[in-house]
Amino acid sequence: MSTLLGRLTPWIAGAAALIALPHVFTSGFALTLMSQIGLLIVFALAYNMLLGQGGMLSFGHAVYFGLAGYFTIHYLNFIYEEQVPYIPVTLIPLLGGLVGLFFGILIGYVSTRRAGTTFAMISLGFGEMVTALTLVLVAIFNGEDGIQTDRVLGEELFGITYGPNIEVYYLIAGWCLVCTLAMFLLTRTPFGRISNAVRDNPERVEFIGYSSQRIRWLAFSLSSFFAGIAGALHAVNIEHVGFEQVSVIQSGLVLFMVYIGGAATFVGPIIGATLLYFLQSTLTGVTEAWVLYLGVLFVGVIMFFPGGLAGLISMHQPIWRARARLLAPLLVPYSRFLAALIVCVLGCIGLIEMLYFRSSRLSTETELVIYGVESDPFSAGPWLIFAAAAGLGAFAIRKTYPGAVSAWNTAIADARARPLG
């Protein structure tokens, strides 16, 4: 029984955190933020069923997210007009999931015939096609304006109306928990394991009785189902869906979340969705260069930490498991490297901000403030300081990186040398 309890602990803790969060962060901004993160976690986990679990790189998974969103908005509006059977808002996400599943089965049949690069191109093609259609079929998608609804249908169980944002938060949190658990359990089914096998070696799978194409199709459909749930939650939360939600912008964002968070682990997408959406919503108001930073971060992760953030954590797990004290010698070399990294990044950010400021050409009256200090991008001083920081930081990174790596190598070797138990 104790192992069962051990296995349940993270879920109970997660549920408790979801319940407690709105009481800790009470502002309206925080509530909206957490709601949006909750549904993006569902979307990111769904996406990782393809990328991390099944080895399929999609550039168009927002199609299932967005189409479910459009459908949800129309359905809610139809309920008002009494043209369709009433469904409580609590269960509307399930309807969105079915819409995602429908399109996943349909489009997945064509696109999962191939894996790898061809699959990626096809997913992009479908994404572009649906995005283009939103501008053509105006009655359904209403072009660039998108469509709107009102999520308050009336009283449901316990007097919930989904008028106040807090009620919507708990709706999303509940669905997020259920979907996360469902997707976690899916990784432990015969389907989940064979899906991993197809990722590792699609050819070999054919010689143990499986059609790798069929597995990909199944993974694609199930993933689209969860993406659809996320899309419906988005529609309920924002009460608006536009072409951005089906477009390559949204598809790219979920890819960034999953990859930067770490596609190889189950928790990676959760970390990525939380971090990236938090950064996005706080930084877009502060800097024009947010997308550039995001792109550079993404490229950096691919080049230097292909396991993502969760990968960075999990590469220390064997050390931690063997003996926690083995982590101690890592502290100094890691801090050195981190300090160098921070100096370099701060310097680069300063340079980029000044460049943006100069090129936008319309902000002659306003002053540029970087790190709380007024920095005149038309004088040499700030340029020299930031360039020096970037240069010195880069130099220090080169100097401290080998130390960090060798410290890890020593620690992991020590950990592996110890017998388990």
Binding site: T189, P190, I194, N196, V205, E206, G209, Y210
Partner: protein, 249 residues
């Protein structure tokens, strides 16, 4: 008709090059049949035709009474034929346990199930455990397969192939690259796992071949020039000329 595997007039060309040039072969049910031949004789191609990696240009293949010519690899596997690969072909990021587990899931009827947990499947767990003990990887079951040593990966390759319990087993150079002691272990393992089954084995190590095989076929330039007991093959002058005299190592 007691043949487990019957090849009739089998041919395969890649472009202008004909690699398999009319192979007729009947592997009896329950026998251990070795296929030997010099490099480039078409042994791997023959396996690829039988196991459905690609279709033959001409001829028929029967598994017992079922015509499997041109069927897909997974269909052939489901009919009870399994194979291993010359180049190790495993699932590198899955654990050793999961590698073997994947090998028996379909055969035990769990197929594409997404509503049951693998950890709870008693039949799968038992079969996986017994195979892991058989191939000597029980202790290393938690490791990612990609981290195994070469010999261990060869053993795992075998384990995946036999996990489904198929009746006809095709092994492609199972002892390639192994040391002397490892070969001995591998042979006794192969002997054990092929008990009561039909085994076809491609092998370069003549010690292994003459030790294991009930009958031997010699494949030279896409044609079978002789089939017989080890004694007959050893005595055949045609085989001596074409192969054993020059190419044996």
């Amino acid at each position: 008709m007691s043949s487990a595997l019957t090849l009739a007039g089998l041919r395969k060309s890649f472009g202008a090059a004909e690699i398999i040039r009319g192979v007729d072969l009947a592997v009896e049910d329950g026998e251990r049949h070795a296929i030997i031949g010099p490099n480039g004789a078409g042994k791997s191609t023959l396996y690829n035709l039988i196991s459905g990696r690609f279709p033959p240009s001409a001829g028929r293949i029967h598994l017992y009474d079922t015509d499997i010519t041109g069927k897909k690899a997974f269909d052939i596997n489901r009919l009870g034929l399994t194979r291993s690969f010359q180049v190790t072909n495993i699932f590198a990021r899955l654990s050793v346990l999961d590698n073997v587990r994947c090998g028996c899931l379909y055969a035990l009827g769990h197929r594409y199930a997404w509503w049951k947990l693998v950890g709870r499947l008693q039949d799968v767990n038992e079969q996986t455990a017994s195979i892991l003990r058989d191939i000597g990887l029980w202790e290393k079951r938690e490791l990612p397969a990609g981290l195994l040593s070469y010999a261990d990966q060869r053993a795992l390759e075998l384990g995946i192939a036999i996990a489904g319990g198929a009746n006809v087993i095709l092994l492609d150079e199972p002892t390639a690259g192994m040391s002397h002691s490892e070969v001995e272990q591998a042979v006794s393992l192969i002997r054990r796992i092929s008990e009561g089954k039909t085994l076809v084995i491609v092998e370069h190590d003549m010690g292994v071949v003459f030790d294991l095989a009930d009958r031997i076929s010699v494949l030279v330039y896409g044609e079978i020039i002789a089939t017989g007991t080890p004694g007959e093959i050893r005595a055949s002058t045609a085989v001596q000329e074409a192969y054993l005299g020059t190419g044996a190592s």
